[in-house]
Amino acid sequence: MKMDEMLDEMRDVNLNYLMLAQSMIQHDKATAVFRLGITQDVAELVEALTPAQILKLASSGMMVSRLRFDGGAVLNMLTNYTKDRSLAQSHAAILMAAQQAEAFA
């Protein structure tokens, strides 16, 4: 992949992410806070972003979202199908929900 293409795609993903996050927050703040794994303060900041600001953020050459699996445990569980699948999912969900929002701030 060429550098330009990659930058373009990153901008698209960022744009999508920020716009989706914004509409989720507008729709239901508390639920969005949980789903996005952020704090209310961050949610309010994202909600208040203007289209111009979103564009600027999106084309900053860095991803604005990041992987939520700090350790390998959750990632392993989500991709590990040897155990009962629905149980592995439940286990992963419990670990994900217990993660601290501060870890992403």
Binding site: D28, K29, A30, T31, V33, F34, R35, I38, T39, Q40, A43, G71, A73, D84, S86, L87, Q89, S90, H91, A93, I94, L95, A97, A98, A101
Partner: protein, 182 residues
Amino acid sequence: MGKKSLLTEMRDTQLAIELIEVGARPQVLESETTLSRERLLKLYKEVKGVSPPKGMLPFSTDWFLTWLPNVHSSLFINIHRYITRNSDCNGIEAVLKSYRLYQEYLHTNQIEAVLSFTRAWTLNRFFESRMLETAVCSDCGGHFVVHPDDLHDKYVCGLCNMPARAGKTRKAKAAAELSAAA
């Protein structure tokens, strides 16, 4: 208490409708709204089309510690904790939102519901009164519902250390046979 505010009454009615829709029993409605019992019963019948179930609410903490309910209640309490800690949503609203997220989780993973709304609400009450708490699993680091009086030095959760017969119900066996035959 002076005159009842119309606004409060409207808000409470709206809340009661939402609660009835997710399956709350009259006792939950009575303690979360200011509406009279008669009005709540009437509302219940109108929303559900049937009379509410009678009898007392389950009051034992033990149910939440049995294997499968423990998995589900741990998930619920983790969602609830995240929401109340990271947003200004609290009280019954937070319980309702967490329960909806839990339901959605069941739906996307096609898992059968184990925790009813009334159970979830009871669970939250048990946490508020410290009759239950969470312990950290020494294996996976997850937070799981436990009894405060037990020892949790080297606690290992029911998912890391599955009991031998866990999940092996008659229903699960029938489902496995069905999928093997197909």
